[in-house]
């Protein structure tokens, strides 16, 4: 759990190497009661929340209606323009899968790296991951010509002994998405157990809710042995999720990289997609956390220091992504492959120049402003940047999918592409679906990990034991915070 849980150590103590500045300070949070009160207090539904949920459900209904129409009439109602056989749905699929990655990165990788600034944002990011994967998983089904046959991609035992084609990246996708969903939802749930126990133990809780929370908290009693097991399990899951951050989006990138198509057929895609995914996920984290900390009055939990640190990560991934873009250009030029060169020329100067311009501006140029500390520490600017990142990353996938397919080997079959209202409606529906789940989540479960925050909040001094003793025998002013600290 949270690593940095103490005030600055004495000057002569050897510093823990990867302790970020931001991670030790929640100066406005004084004690456990305050944490319980303020975080649990966010769970009370408000009028605005109901309106927000209503809007989300409305968008979802639009998407569902469009999908029903599409299933009935055929995929022709979407804007496909052969040979652009993939369009908005696959773009949006990759977009949502990418968003998911930041959550796992924050909750698992940063946990292993002991980056303390993750403590207050990870729950939100992790929930975002699960819901983003749930959204993304709809799209491969949604874009099928015969969606009711989607289960043929799953290797289930059947009377005819027909198995999926294991050479196909789309089958790998099935495994990648299912694995990712399983692990990330498990990870989210495990982390929630102590918090659910807190909710369970509240007064004035309805009996049904108490019953549900009792089951979900798995009988958590806050004992030392529970904490020890919990911490090991959490560590194990974090280690287990870490490779998934890299592998899932690599597999998604294989959908493209394994094909012959100019613009797709490149070995840089796996790292490039992973970096892009984290980048887009960081953008979405900002988009979600900045309004939340304001509306829920949690600015003293998610401090500007935390945002600053996250912005640095965002800037870093932007640089990685930018580097990948430039490698693509270089390789296209250096390969001497005409089809590839003409494709890249077309991508930048051809009919899709505007999409490329959006992509490069949003993903390479605008994030450079984060080098400026003042902007990095401005929640408003981060919120704006998060939107441009989301837009830019959607267009990155657009630029990968559409121009490549519209400008392939066969010049006779070069075409254009224009989405129809059905594409847009289903895109909106996906935001509605995601937002609906997130809206429901924030009023049922705490958006900030109560237990972890408590770890970094100084406990009340106990008279019986005025100070702690560290392994070297030195005395501390405060009681050490043993529970959960890398047991």
């Amino acid at each position: 759990m949270a690593i940095a849980s103490r005030p600055l150590p004495p000057r002569d103590e050897p510093r823990r190497p990867n302790l970020a500045r931001a991670d030790i300070q929640l100066p406005a949070v004084r004690d456990y009661e305050q944490v319980d009160r303020e975080i649990v207090g966010t769970l009370r539904p408000t009028l605005y929340w109901f309106i927000g949920l209503g809007v989300a459900v409305f968008f979802l209904l639009i998407g569902i209606s469009a999908w029903m129409y599409q299933i009935y009439t055929g995929l022709g109602v979407a804007g496909y323009n052969p040979p652009v056989m993939w369009g908005v749905y696959i773009i949006t699929f990759v977009f949502w899968i990418g968003i998911g990655h930041a959550g796992t990165l924050i909750s698992a990788i940063l946990y292993l790296f002991r980056a303390g600034f993750r403590t207050t944002i990870y729950r939100c990011a992790e929930a975002m991951t699960v819901f983003a994967v749930m959204t993304a998983a709809l799209f491969p089904i949604l874009h099928l010509g015969r969606p009711w046959k989607f289960f043929w991609l799953i290797p289930y035992p059947n009377w005819r002994y027909i198995w999926p084609q294991f050479k196909s990246p789309l089958v790998w996708d099935v495994f990648a998405i299912l694995t990712y969903f399983t692990i990330s939802s498990t990870f989210l749930f495990i982390g929630l157990i102590p918090d659910i126990a807190v909710l369970r133990d509240r007064e004035n809780i309805s009996p049904i809710r108490k019953r549900v929370f009792s089951v979900l908290s798995l009988g958590w009693r806050n004992t030392d042995s529970e904490w020890r097991h919990f911490a090991r399990a959490y560590l194990f899951l974090a280690a287990f999720s870490t490779p998934l951050v890299l592998s899932v989006h690599s597999v998604v990138s294989f959908d493209f990289a394994m094909a012959l198509t100019p613009g797709w057929h490149t070995t840089i895609f796996p790292p490039y997609f992973v970096a892009g995914a984290i980048f887009s996920g960081m953008g979405m984290v900002f988009t979600i956390i900045i309004p939340l900390r304001k509306w829920f009055g949690l600015r003293h939990y998610v401090t500007i220091n935390h945002l600053d640190a996250a912005a640095k990560l965002c800037l870093f991934t932007s640089l990685v992504v930018g580097c990948a873009y430039m490698s693509e250009w270089f390789v296209a030029w250096y390969s001497g492959n005409e089809a590839e060169q003409q494709f890249f020329a077309n991508r930048i100067w051809g009919q899709w120049w505007w999409a490329s311009a959006i992509l490069y501006t949003c993903n390479m140029v605008l994030p450079l402003t984060l080098f400026v500390q003042k902007l990095r520490r401005s929640a408003a600017w981060l919120f704006i940047i998060s939107f441009t990142i989301n837009i830019g990353m959607w267009f990155e996938r657009f630029v990968i999918v559409v121009p490549s397919l519209s400008h392939e080997f066969e010049p006779w079959q070069w075409t254009s592409y224009r989405p129809t209202w059905v594409d847009y409606a289903i895109l909106c529906g996906s935001f509605g679906w995601f937002s609906m789940w997130f809206m429901l989540f924030i009023k049922q479960l705490p958006v900030i990990a109560i237990a972890e925050v408590k770890e970094i909040v100084p406990p009340k001094l106990k008279t019986a034991h005025a100070h702690g003793v560290d392994p070297s025998g030195r005395h501390f002013e405060f009681e050490p915070d043993t529970p959960g600290e890398f047991a």
């Binding site: 009439t73 052969p82 010509g145 046959k149 089958v171 094909a259 100067w349 009919q351 006779w412 079959q413």
Partner: protein, 1042 residues
């Protein structure tokens, strides 16, 4: 199952039903009831024939040899009939005219037969509206009107206009008319080149001589589109392709004319003269005009003309043909014929004795125009029309439709609604040519027989039988018609009678002659058009017949609307073609609307930039824009509305007779085209080799892009901007960086050999059917195809054959778009989204001429599934819906497809097509086969459902049929025993199909040609389609200037 049934046997007890058994029966019957209750579809019954008709075996085709009536030529066809329905037409190999080939219009005869807009039965006008009547009533009205006309002394003023055809029927009709005291009928073909027919009669004594391209060393066509619609297209194309394929003696071909038609695109050189200046060229060739003068008149550079004149003078034998529909068409054709005579070509390359008889006895449009005057004056008492549609095919300015209203009674024998028939008072719908008896005499000494291939689709009657039955009831004529029907009449007339006819019918042709040689009809006084240069306007207006739709006859056949024009690649639409530079100077992009004003009217059309246009010329195809010819024919516009009624001196319509004022109209219409980029961008798809290099066995120049900047027009409507200004570097066949390599036949490559791919374990003994030693022998085969680009003319007959054979839906009708808020509407809306389904397409690439000059080369590449040995589509399909068959086919399993479309993304050739809508479901607006078009569907081929991928199968149904037949007959397959639909119909014989693993098949030999190449060979796809490079014949370097 088996254990169940054992149990059942055990539990059966003699003393009645046991409880367990009762429950079982109960369960089964409940399940059965439930399932029946759930079935939403109407329960239909399949009842086999109690007494099967002769020759009808369910599931086995019967073939009837008959004659194609889609144009005047009279080709032989073989109609494949399955369970009483004709499903496919093939050329008759024994027929002297088409020798087994069949053009797109011929293929589409089936869509005339099963046209959903056909009249269901006779109709009569009652209270101003056409209503269904019974045949008895209709015939009674007809007989009564005939009687009235005769009794009032108006018989001499009755007019019968018949769709032009050769054979016995015209004579029969004239005799019938004479019996009622009526004048001989007008045999009308709006699409024929009357000036040339008249000139040929004058020069050679026949209407249409045979052109022997094989004997010629130079072919000069002055606007004569002998590969489109000019004359007997199929035999001309066969001869031309044969001549050009013999590289030792192949003629060079120069095309002169203001618009580069399909014929022009097949020429080695195009001389873009001004419309109306053709005479100057001919006179220059004849030495009657100095080159400078000709250059002045034609707008072509003197150097080009000088070289042309020298080459023409130096080359014998040659062929000069002229056409093009100018007001001076007769003079030009006569002068061209005189050139042939002076060069001694007649007899050597132009063979009047072997000419085609299909153009004899034709009435000229001038006769119809003079008829208009008579009708207007009330001088026509009865008008009878069969097949022809003069109200549409004559220029609006001639006023035929208005004049028709002044005729007291009009009878139409047309089976389809059209502009003329809709004005008729009585409609006695004729059988389709596939439903009736008849004959034709396409060449002297050969009778081509026509027999019904099936029972009539609707309640129609053959006009010949109608005439007989009317005559039999008429006391004056009855004695002359002892025969009950036209068939008996034909048998009696046939040399040798019924026995001989029955013996000849299986072949479809018989030796003999039915008609006496005919002389030309006298031409009435013509309204000769003034020289085009004297009309006012800023551009010359050129109208030309659409290669498929022709004069408008094919407009209601969705295949002919949907198959893109071989030249412009436009479907479902009428456009105005302009040279890119001209369009640029007027500020017109593709699709911008222009107003085209002539003395006769004005028309607003979208512009198509086409480099094969003379710069001062605008061209429009005729045939579209019907008001009343059925649901599909409504697309497009009819340019005849703005054509002044001028004629050439032979009485033909002068299609190129006026200038027009062309101005930008403002507004935009999407261009409905299947073209993406018209340039290869150096990708080596359509390759060519110069004849000298081929003879010297040099690798030759080639492929892709010639250099320099491209002109902006080239792409389709939405050509990527980046392509337009990009100068690709010159390069050879190999991709840069590739090691030079020998041509890989790929047909028996290691990858193709082992369909498991490189990953397959070579040592494995368990390859199943992929093992060449497997008893099925499938693994021994490798189905493959060669396409000779030096033969291919790009005519798209293969495309129509594929539509017919493989149940390919047409998608371009305006009601086939989504019903809720479609973002594109109108005819061709789905094609704007590139959703055409043609399994084979003809790509037309331009080489050279980037500066906008006339000096560009067009290359046609038929592109279909390449059946790669190492197919990129196969490993990416997650559900094995596409896989590799042991005999080398790349197989698509429709039932297994879930529609991820990844296969199409990964296909470099882009030959996979997706079912975006339920084109095969009758309840949907997108339904492509409205009753009875669905009768044509090939029962051997699935009608694909919504949401699945489809593509060329190499006609797998034909492969399996042939294999099964061989198995039943206990013999191996014979080499070249069968072929695919595209190869069978190809009038250039460019496509050859067969087993490339067996040296005895022609395809194997052809694939060894020095010109062979694979498209995108560098992708290691090991395709089964081998292209043979086009052979170019560049202008000879004049002696002394080398």
């Amino acid at each position: 199952m088996s254990s169940d049934s054992e149990q059942t046997t055990v539990t059966v007890a003699p003393n009645g039903v046991k409880r367990r058994e009762f429950l079982k029966v109960l369960g089964v019957s409940t399940a059965a009831t439930t399932m029946l209750g759930c079935a939403s579809e109407k329960v239909e019954k399949l009842i086999p024939y109690l007494v099967s008709p002769d020759e009808t075996v369910p599931g086995v085709s019967t073939y009837y040899a008959t004659t194609c009536r889609e144009c005047s030529a009279g080709c032989g066809v073989i109609a494949e009939t399955r369970d009483g329905r004709t499903i496919k037409l093939e050329g008759n190999p024994d027929h002297p005219l088409n020798r087994g080939a069949l053009c797109a219009r011929g293929q589409a005869a089936l869509q005339g037969l099963y046209n959903p807009d056909r009249y269901r039965g006779p109709m009569a006008r009652k209270n101003g509206k056409l209503e269904r009547v019974s045949w008895d009533e209709a015939l009674q009205i007809f007989a009564q009107k005939l009687g009235e006309t005769r009794s009032r002394g108006g018989a001499g003023n009755a007019v019968f206009i018949n769709q032009h055809e050769s054979g016995s029927f015209p004579g029969f009709l004239d005799a019938w008319l004479a019996g009622f005291g009526m004048p001989a009928h007008l045999s009308y073909d709006a699409g024929a080149d009357h000036a040339v027919i008249a000139a040929n009669r004058q020069s050679y004594g026949v209407a249409w001589p045979k052109l022997d391209f094989r004997a010629a060393r130079l072919v000069v066509s002055i606007g004569a589109d002998f590969l489109d619609t000019w004359g007997a297209m199929v035999p001309q194309q066969l001869d031309f392709a044969d001549a050009r394929a013999n590289h030792e003696t192949a003629p060079r071909f120069i095309y002169v004319g203001p618009r580069r038609s399909l014929t022009g695109l097949n020429a080695d050189q195009w001389i873009d003269c001004r419309p109306g200046s053709e005479m100057a060229i001919v006179r220059m060739l004849a030495g009657q005009m100095p080159v400078d003068g000709a250059a002045q008149a034609t707008g072509v550079s003197a150097a080009t003309l000088d070289a042309f004149a020298r080459e023409f003078a130096a080359t014998t034998p040659s062929i000069v043909v002229a056409g093009g529909g100018g007001a001076d068409g007769l003079e030009v054709a006569l002068a061209a014929n005189a050139l042939n005579q002076s060069k001694g070509n007649v007899g050597s390359t132009i063979k009047p004795g072997e000419g085609y008889l299909g153009f004899d006895r034709m009435a000229s449009p001038a006769e119809l125009r003079s008829l208009v005057a008579r009708m207007n004056a009330g001088g026509v008492s009865l008008l009878m029309v069969r097949g022809a549609n003069p109200a549409f095919t004559l220029p609006k300015a001639s006023g035929f439709a208005q004049a028709m209203a002044k005729v007291p009674f009009k009878v139409s024998f047309s089976s389809y609604p059209d502009e003329t028939t809709e004005a008729a008072d009585l409609i006695l719908p004729d059988h389709h040519s596939l439903e009736q008896w008849g004959d034709a005499e396409p060449v002297r000494g050969t009778i081509s027989l026509q027999q019904p291939a099936m029972d009539p689709v609707f309640d129609t009657r053959a006009t010949s039988d109608v005439l007989i039955s009317v005559a039999q009831k008429d006391p004056a004529s009855a004695a002359r018609y002892p025969n009950p029907d036209y068939r008996t009449w034909l048998i009696n007339r046939f040399p040798g009678g019924a026995t001989a006819l029955n013996a000849a019918l299986p072949r479809g042709v018989a030796a003999g002659s039915l008609n006496e040689p005919t002389t030309a009809r006298p031409v009435p006084a013509v309204q000769a058009g003034a020289p085009i240069a004297q009309s006012s306007g800023n551009m010359y207006l050129v109208l030309y017949p659409h290669p498929f739709i022709g004069d408008g006859r094919g407009a209601n056949k969705p295949w002919l609307q949907e198959i893109p024009d071989p030249v412009t690649k436009i479907c479902w639409q009428t456009v105005a073609e302009m040279h890119p530079a001209t369009a640029e100077s007027m500020g017109l992009a593709n699709g911008d609307l222009v107003d085209i004003k002539t003395a006769a009217g004005s028309l607003t059309l979208p512009v198509l930039r086409y480099p094969g246009m003379q710069r001062e010329t605008i061209a429009i195809a005729t045939g579209r824009g019907h008001t009343n010819s059925g649901r599909y024919a409504k697309s497009g516009f009819n340019p005849l509305e703005i054509l002044p009624a001028a004629e050439d001196r032979a009485g033909g319509i002068a299609f190129v007779s006026t200038k027009a004022n062309v101005t930008k109209a403002g507004g935009y219409a999407h261009i409905v085209t299947t073209e993406g980029s018209a340039r290869q961008h150096g990708r080596g798809i359509a390759r060519a080799i110069a004849i000298a290099d081929l003879k010297a066995d040099r690798p030759g120049y080639d492929s892709g892009n010639a250099h320099g900047s491209e002109i902006a027009q080239q792409g389709g409507p939405e050509t990527p901007r980046g392509e337009q200004h990009e100068g690709a570097a010159a390069h050879g066949e190999e991709m840069p960086g590739d090691a030079p390599h020998e041509f890989l036949p790929g047909l028996r490559s290691p990858v193709a050999n082992d369909a498991q791919g490189e990953q397959g374990d070579q040592r494995s003994n368990h390859k199943g059917m992929y093992d060449p030693n497997h008893w099925s022998g499938m693994g021994k085969r490798r189905w493959a195809m060669t396409i000779d680009l030096s033969r291919c003319t790009g005519c798209a007959a293969c495309v129509s054959a594929c539509y017919a054979e493989n149940n390919i839906p047409t998608v371009g009708a305006d009601w086939q778009v989504p019903q809720i808020l479609p973002d594109r509407t109108g005819f061709g809306a789905n094609i704007l989204r590139s959703r055409e389904m043609a399994w084979i397409r003809i790509e037309r690439y331009y080489e050279g001429g980037e500066d906008g000059s006339a000096n560009f080369d067009a290359r046609f590449v038929p592109m279909m599934c390449q059946h790669c040995g190492n197919a990129p589509c196969e490993p990416v399909c997650p559900v094995y819906a596409t896989y590799h068959a042991p005999d080398g086919l790349n197989v698509q399993v429709y039932n297994r497809c879930v529609g991820t479309r990844y296969c199409s993304n990964n296909c470099p050739y882009k030959v996979r097509y997706f079912n975006w809508f339920g084109y095969g479901e009758p309840a949907r607006p997108q339904y492509a086969f409205p009753e009875p078009l669905n009768w044509q569907l090939n029962p051997d081929v699935t009608v694909r459902g919504k949401g699945v991928m489809e593509k060329c199968s190499f006609c797998v149904q034909r492969i399996r049929e042939a294999e099964n037949l061989a198995t039943l007959e206990k013999r191996p397959l014979k080499p070249d025993e069968f072929t695919t639909a595209c190869a069978a119909s190809c009038p250039s014989r460019a496509i050859v199909f067969g087993d490339a693993a067996d040296d005895n098949w022609s395809v194997t030999q052809l694939a060894k040609d020095a010109r062979a190449y694979h498209v995108f060979e560098e992708l290691n796809t090991y395709t089964a389609v081998v292209y043979l490079k086009k052979v170019n014949h560049p202008a000879p370097v004049p002696a002394g200037r080398a």
